[in-house]
Symmetry: C2
Subunit: 739 residues, 2 copies
Amino acid sequence: MKLPILLAAATLVGGVPQTALAAVSQGAASHDASEAASSTGSTNAPLFAAELERTQAFVEAMMGDGVVVPVPRDPGGGYTHEQHKRNFRAIYNAGQLFRITGDQKYRDYVREMLLAYADLYPTLGDHPAKANQYSGQIFWQVLNDAMWLVHAVQGYADIRDTLSDADRQRIDDDVFRRAAHFLSQESVATFDRIHTHATWATAGVGMTGYLLGAAAMVERALLGSDKSGQAGFLRQTELLFSPNGYYTEGPYYQRFALLPFLVFADAIERNEPERAIFEHRDGILLKALRTTVQLSYRGYFFPFNDAIRDKSLRTAELYEGVAIAYGQTRDPALLWIADFQGRTVLRDSGALVAQDLDAGLAQPFPFASLLLSDGPDGDQGAVAVLRQGSANAEGEPATVLIAKNSAQGMGHGHFDKLAWQLYDNGNEIVRDYGAARFLNIEAKRGGRYLPENETWAKSSVAHNTLVVDETSHFGGDADLADQFWPTQLHFSDAPGLQVTSAEIDSAYPGVSIRRTLLMPTLPGLEAPLVIDLVRASSDDAHQYDLPLHFSGHIMEYDFETRNNVAARPVLGNDNGYQHIWIDAEATLDEGKGALTWILDGRFYTYRFVSDGPLGVVLGESGANDPDFNLRREPMILLRAQRDGGRDGGASFASLLEAHGSYDGAAEQTLDSRSLVSDLDHQQIEGIDIIRVTLKSGPQFVIAVSHNSDPDTQHSVTLGGDVLAWTGFAAVIALPGGEN
Amino acid sequence: MKLPILLAAATLVGGVPQTALAAVSQGAASHDASEAASSTGSTNAPLFAAELERTQAFVEAMMGDGVVVPVPRDPGGGYTHEQHKRNFRAIYNAGQLFRITGDQKYRDYVREMLLAYADLYPTLGDHPAKANQYSGQIFWQVLNDAMWLVHAVQGYADIRDTLSDADRQRIDDDVFRRAAHFLSQESVATFDRIHTHATWATAGVGMTGYLLGAAAMVERALLGSDKSGQAGFLRQTELLFSPNGYYTEGPYYQRFALLPFLVFADAIERNEPERAIFEHRDGILLKALRTTVQLSYRGYFFPFNDAIRDKSLRTAELYEGVAIAYGQTRDPALLWIADFQGRTVLRDSGALVAQDLDAGLAQPFPFASLLLSDGPDGDQGAVAVLRQGSANAEGEPATVLIAKNSAQGMGHGHFDKLAWQLYDNGNEIVRDYGAARFLNIEAKRGGRYLPENETWAKSSVAHNTLVVDETSHFGGDADLADQFWPTQLHFSDAPGLQVTSAEIDSAYPGVSIRRTLLMPTLPGLEAPLVIDLVRASSDDAHQYDLPLHFSGHIMEYDFETRNNVAARPVLGNDNGYQHIWIDAEATLDEGKGALTWILDGRFYTYRFVSDGPLGVVLGESGANDPDFNLRREPMILLRAQRDGGRDGGASFASLLEAHGSYDGAAEQTLDSRSLVSDLDHQQIEGIDIIRVTLKSGPQFVIAVSHNSDPDTQHSVTLGGDVLAWTGFAAVIALPGGEN
């Protein structure tokens, strides 16, 4: 499908590059009847009508306040900051309303607003609240100036051809040329980065170039300030996403990056369709959008790395992204997302989404198990997502396991190599803290990242990962961490036994860590069963801590504890340990134990066994938190003191079992206690043998050869039985186990 | 409306009392066409069809297991206990299915099950797991035996006239006569109590009497074992509910009591309509049902006293109750509840509910502000419910304040005189802990009340009430507490300024406490504003603690604290104090402060002022809890050390302000900080003057005369201004406050 050109107005005035003119005619020619009927990008479909109403309410309220363009003064969250944010949304939205309704008042408002900016802009220099070299002019950060331009240029496009020559010239020159010059030349360091901040900048400058017919501006945006192609928007699409469309900072920032990527791509497609931007790099931009959706559970993004946990698919970036992608693909699964969002945008593609949704064309989004490679060439580790279990009404499986075997992901990355998370029954069961930040809440350091983001949220012990000698991975050094990543050894989404396995030998000097997570389905047990195998190898003696951060209320555990009931001490002094209260401790000579908790009417048992004695800590986050900045969440930490030597290191095998139900309404409780009676683990010639015994009698072995070749045969003799299988792993029912 | 007789089958065999026969003919005569069409109590309406399907699934699964009637052995939660529970539901439901479908297999199943009980019953003596004198025969508690009978007799009624004489005689004699004899004669101590356990027993025995045509049995059920009317079902309807239909144990047990009350009343109405049971005591039973619904927020019951917090309107007791009450009243608001429940029952009244709901007859339930007196004569205190704010889609106001000025409510009562709770925006903001119990969860002491129910959940400091000298009200003595209650001084549901005021002088010797809660609407502030005035008077020196248990994450507070960040001590040794961790402490010489927290996208500020210096504790529940039985929830505790003497005592004036919003999706935060700049309080000649100053300038006085006469004029001179008003309280805008 070809959409009418967003920036069509630009083509009516002088200096238009040939490519843009070509795009106009092509766009016009491709209109089919349904689009012709909505040439202003409008429709009466309910989703669109609601969006129109919502937008009108916002713009009318803004118009009621008059045009307010204050001299820049405040940092993020402050008055002038928030006012300029409101202004760019108002310019953007009022332009849309003028296009759709033809009502002059919207045009006049955009015109007056932009003339006020034309008065202001030539007076601007460094922002008074500038904090570093990345300062803006309207805002304290150049990023915000770029966001202003991306939005304002779209609103301007909707009214530009209605202006007098004098007004148009003033706004062109004193607002948009100045803004583009500031971003692409005065702030060239940002502009030429391979970074999402540069994506916002190049998008703003490029779209301004199309509108003003400034070919050089477009070229700088696409190819970098020196037009070499080593920087700029096209290069960003090549380097910022992995071949699977995964963005290295993680889902939270991937979402944020999508808006300028897709909005600018949309403009490129209209103005220079011969670039086939949406086919570029095997369709990476549309792939990135779908990958973003895959990185969510019940609409909420997996919160690993710096992430605000309440970010969901219901976010402005994705309203734009879904509409643009649907315009390109007509993929009915995107309508499903729009339906979940309950929102769309006031463009042709938004109208199309609303119409087709209203026509009942939506299909469930195909949430799937998948391995998302990291790094531009896909060789910097990966994020593995295992989905299993009965789907909910929207077709999304109940259980999702995430293995974070990806690269550090720059400054917003956490020190959590090989960490995992688990969702089940609508909830996050094995959790990731996300970022320590209350976005936009003034009382919490102006809404910025809190000190505890460094001291707790990024630390290794705050994650479900192995911690050696009470230090974070890479010594907590982000620059060092950026140079290394795990190796993904195996991945299988085979139903009945999904597997991910990865290892890293750079997180700690002289320590190699391998983690294999398996999701087998055992007869007699409810899905999901998770088997977690962690093996650390080292020639030196170390202390190995394996924390599990869970959600729920402790029901019982099967070991003796020393409880700190009347005075609560702290686990350590640094690297996140200072934030952990110790509720209880235990020493398990056999290295075995189990802990059961309840969450939302379902029970979960974490059962573990190590290759030697274990210490256990039942703890809670929130110590050394004088400003009440942290959430208080429970954890269990397994501690193994192990010698070094040829076979030095530690192994942990554990099993997470969801079981039973508690129904308060019916006063009915089922299987509140684990259905497993024993878990044991041995390594036989490099093969891991995990034996699970059910209380009802049957015994199963999960055998892991660690050999990815599907045809290699393996066998192990266990208590007289010969277990034989091919491939990486297998579930084997032991004979005679039945009672 | 007259429903077809549930126990109609009973009237076809010998020994039917005259009243029952009369009821049959009257019932039959009153059938209108729509009822005749559903003489089996059936309909195709969706709600009913779903119920039928659900019931069939349950009964078929039970039938698949065969008839399993084990010899009683286990206590609550154990195997034989749960099996007999399943059995009585299966008898009840299979009888219904036979009546509706006519399928013989259901009849055969009920017959076989009851014949198995006929084998078992004569062999029964004291239950092996008997714990006290209230032991049953099938179950460890007589209460459960009564529940068995209430259900089983209804299932039996549906098949009894299809049995051979021999079978009927055996089941009559060896099951039902024995069960009735056990409950009404062997367990006469329970049977003659004025207590809901007796309600279950009398309901079971009375319904058995109707079915077997045993007039004496019915008489004992209605009038007590000696037939004097001093005990029995009728007396229970007179003594267990207040004139407003409030049951003294609180909403959780009120719900539980409703089933036998309404089911037996329904049987009385059919068999002896001349008793006009539903008109008895001004319609107390239907009133009690509506009052139960009024004691809920978004479907969940207010959790005060012993209460499992996840109990909602979606509970079996209320499916029965709503259907029976709708059959009696055709009140369209009851359909609204049935719709919320998504459930009904397989009787004529359930069919009617389903049909009328399908026909769109439902109307929103009229949730309202109301004062519910406690005690059989309504003179033992009261529960005040203030509702305010914009209604949600279901017509329920957003803000609800509960003032618990009621009597102790027997053994399940908590020591929380004059306590309060607040709901807003869908959440419990100022909370009540409820019971310390994990119902039916074996690992938690077999699902029974936990030790922490006595040591924490019932204690005064666990509630939002005044605690004197670190002891609970009435010294924590339930027998003593049952003899006293607060006096409700004033109540007003006037829009714009709702008020409740009460006092008690018996909770602590020599201390009189008065609490006045007001809900004013102030221009410039969002609803709800809550003003809380607590005044304790005593001739002696005391320590006064005023805890507030809130839900949310602390954002900020405006006082200096000493924080326990690396070792966390406990607040006290006894009376609940041993369960409170101290996070931070403060000393406020001016006795003034404010604390802000966030919950679910909304901010709340608690602002307080006292008549002298205050200590402040920021704490959390969960200390001295070796079994992880407690939830960990935040609290703030204000502490006033005050001298005695003529004007001895302490006053606390506080203000709870809901403000602003946090929208993670839109990344928009509004008014995260309090809109109030100051709160002060003075008492002038017995009149309380609370002055609220907004940051935007305006000042308001909330003046409280404590004189309920609406026409009495009051005036006070404040800083040169004369404030004049009539009645108990007023909101007065001060002149010159605007900025």
